[in-house]
Symmetry: C2
Subunit: 418 residues, 2 copies
């Protein structure tokens, strides 16, 4: 069995048995996190025997994860399609990196790269869903439902199919066609996949889920509503940031700055959890990257709260942004995102639509990389980050590209040509 | 009203009134063509008054088409989404063009280009479907059905929706996801779009159409089964080949060689028809390009017939090719394709899968153009065409890229990366 010890509320710190199949914390409606007993990992598994670096997927982090691929019984529940273990691509020629003398890398979750893993549905959501469906399988869950702004939808459907679970995916009717179409096609071809379309955003999708599917016994896989599963999958982003090229002989270390696009914020919570666990394991110290949470100025609840010194976000009106994954008007985990970016001496920055489009276009034409609008938003945040002194000369800066632009066609095609 | 005079069988030359709503020739089961009274166009509309060069779509050829945009009554039936009027992109740096001193151009039907028209569903099928749905509207047709290997499917659905017709699209269940997904999504979102999936190819799709939908009164829009409509749409490919940059002041002329990927062959019949009409109009002489019909060696009925001096193709087993649009085991119009390529002193050439993939990859990386596997097949045919003396020094050679690679994702993505 894995080294999970319990569940813990990210807000009130109440703990729950790891065997409880829960959603949010019953006391305060906040997200739960899975607690890994890292001290026990350290004691029982010295010298990297927890680690499987030959494995080209996120499951390489073995005993640090909620399901341990080193364990026979856990391994039977792991539902993997090769997700995670993505490269940091150097963008040394980026004009701002050259001008201000920092080292810029793009952590590319979108397209496959030689000698690395590959997210099967072309986005970072696969990390969370691989873990969440695996955990659901361990708990004997047979039916799952997710409301989504897009990428989590086809991801859930693929992993649920692989696990022979029934799935319902609820998304806005203006979700980009490669996602809406793929899930529609899966629903057409497979009886155990259902698609529901709503007017509006993930908010309306969540309402339909609660009214129609949760009462029918579908397990709620919405961001943070599963008990820490998706956070523990996204945690592998942080573990990979720290992982050296040769994990067994070189030092583990963190970048100086991380730029991350923020809808719900699972990835930021996951990365922060990774850093704490690596520190508990003795692989890194207490220094953390400055975490910069990037949103579209059209829908910027975290930025609003950060700028006005609030502890939590207030729900905003949904805007219209090409970065559909950022069109998230509020979130039960935003208080924790705000806490993390403040602790890290980072910030929350909003970028405009035009700078998102320009960055997507220039990375395509200069590097041939198919970044998504959310990834372009993180690059668009570099300039304001420099202006605020958040990026300095000599820094290692990692910007996250969370998916492939192919999932945003035809909208992004129109940006690249004509 | 347009200058259509009658319908004529491409095989037995029997003519039928233009007011008949027919499918194949009842005498021999061969395709019908629409006859335009070009002599009358020439007499009544001198000095290019038939032509609308300011219009950035295939409808610019006004009175030469089966529906005439210059005519008030016809114009009300035209269902246009901006299709056609695509550029010939010079590939002057292509190694074979440089080595053998010919001028190579890619007629790009896939992605949008500045100052040109743009096929709304990203393939040449939009030309045929724009014309076919417009003609169906003129005839008062309310329900249409099409069997397809892919690109004709989403195209029909889009034009039928625009015309408020009911449509049924029947395709193989292994059709590339951007097409299968898009039609599934349209079917999910709109009551008047239906998708049916079959095991096999367009052949099995055609059987289901005849058994289930034709008896329910759906009009058969399969290649060649509508009475010459799709041929007359594809005819605009040939008109554009001849059209000078300034149609009013420069001479119209044809290239020396045309490389065209061949499934059913509508485009080849359409282009040949265009050349004859332009000659009748006095804009070009009797010289024709050498027409090279390109197929995948996996499914090559036209090449087999050409190589063995047969007048018609024999149905082959469907193969497995990345160029799914070429996976057409037989066709009622192949006799005419064979006739045209022989009259033109061209040929039919089969290319292997590896050369298709290599050409797709090199055009993407060297020119940034998103070609489809069928377009890559035409480029792969250049080398064998040179070896057979079909391309000579000084020739103007036009290879057709019939669609965007984005409609073949994720298969083609795997070729470009890793």
């Amino acid at each position: 069995m894995s080294y999970v010890s319990k569940l813990c509320c990210t807000y009130c710190a109440t703990t729950y048995p790891k065997t409880d199949l829960m959603n949010l914390c019953p006391k305060d409606g906040r997200p739960l996190e899975i607690i890994i007993d890292v001290a026990k990992v350290k004691e029982e598994l010295p010298e990297f025997s927890w680690y499987r670096p030959q494995l080209k997927s996120m499951w390489r982090f073995g005993s640090l994860l909620a399901l341990d691929i080193n364990n026979e019984q856990d391994r039977r529940n792991i539902v993997s399609l090769g997700e995670g273990y993505t490269p940091e691509i150097p963008l040394h020629q980026h004009p701002l990196a050259k001008k201000h003398h920092f080292n810029l890398f793009l952590k590319d979750e979108g397209q496959p790269h030689k000698n690395f893993g590959s997210n099967p549905t072309g986005s970072f959501k696969d990390r969370g869903m691989s873990m969440a469906i695996s955990m659901a399988k361990q708990f004997g869950v047979k039916k799952v439902v997710v409301p989504t702004q897009g990428n989590a939808g086809d991801s859930l459907a693929e992993y649920a199919m692989k696990a022979n679970m029934e799935s319902v995916v609820i998304m806005p009717d203006d979700t980009p066609m490669p996602i809406l179409g793929r899930v529609s096609a899966l629903a057409k071809m497979h009886d155990n996949v259902t698609i529901e379309l709503v007017k509006g955003t993930i908010k309306e999708a969540g309402q339909l889920m609660k009214e129609k599917y949760v009462p029918q016994g579908y397990f709620n896989m919405a961001t943070f509503q599963e008990p820490g599963w998706r956070i523990d999958g996204k945690k592998t982003l942080g573990l990979e940031l720290a992982e050296p090229n040769d994990g067994l002989n070189q030092a583990w270390s963190l970048p100086d700055v991380v730029l991350y696009p923020t809808g719900g914020g699972t990835g930021i919570l996951g990365m922060w959890k990774a850093f704490d666990e690596l520190q508990a394991l003795g692989l890194i110290g207490d220094k953390r990257p400055r975490v910069i949470s990037v949103q579209s100025e059209k829908t910027a609840p975290v930025v609003n709260a950060f700028d006005s010194n609030q502890d939590d976000s207030t729900i905003v009106e949904a805007g219209e942004t090409i970065a559909t994954g950022l069109n998230v008007p509020g979130g039960v985990g935003h208080f924790k995102v705000l806490d993390i970016i403040r602790k890290s001496r980072g910030a929350a920055l909003a970028v405009d639509e035009n700078s998102i489009k320009e960055n997507l276009k220039s990375i395509y034409h200069n590097y041939g990389i198919w970044i998504c609008p959310e990834g372009a938003a993180t690059l668009a945040a570099i300039e304001p980050a420099i202006e605020r002194g958040l990026i300095q000369s000599g820094d290692k800066v990692v910007a996250f590209n969370t998916g492939s632009f192919e999932k945003y066609l035809p909208n992004v095609r129109k940006l690249l040509f004509v």
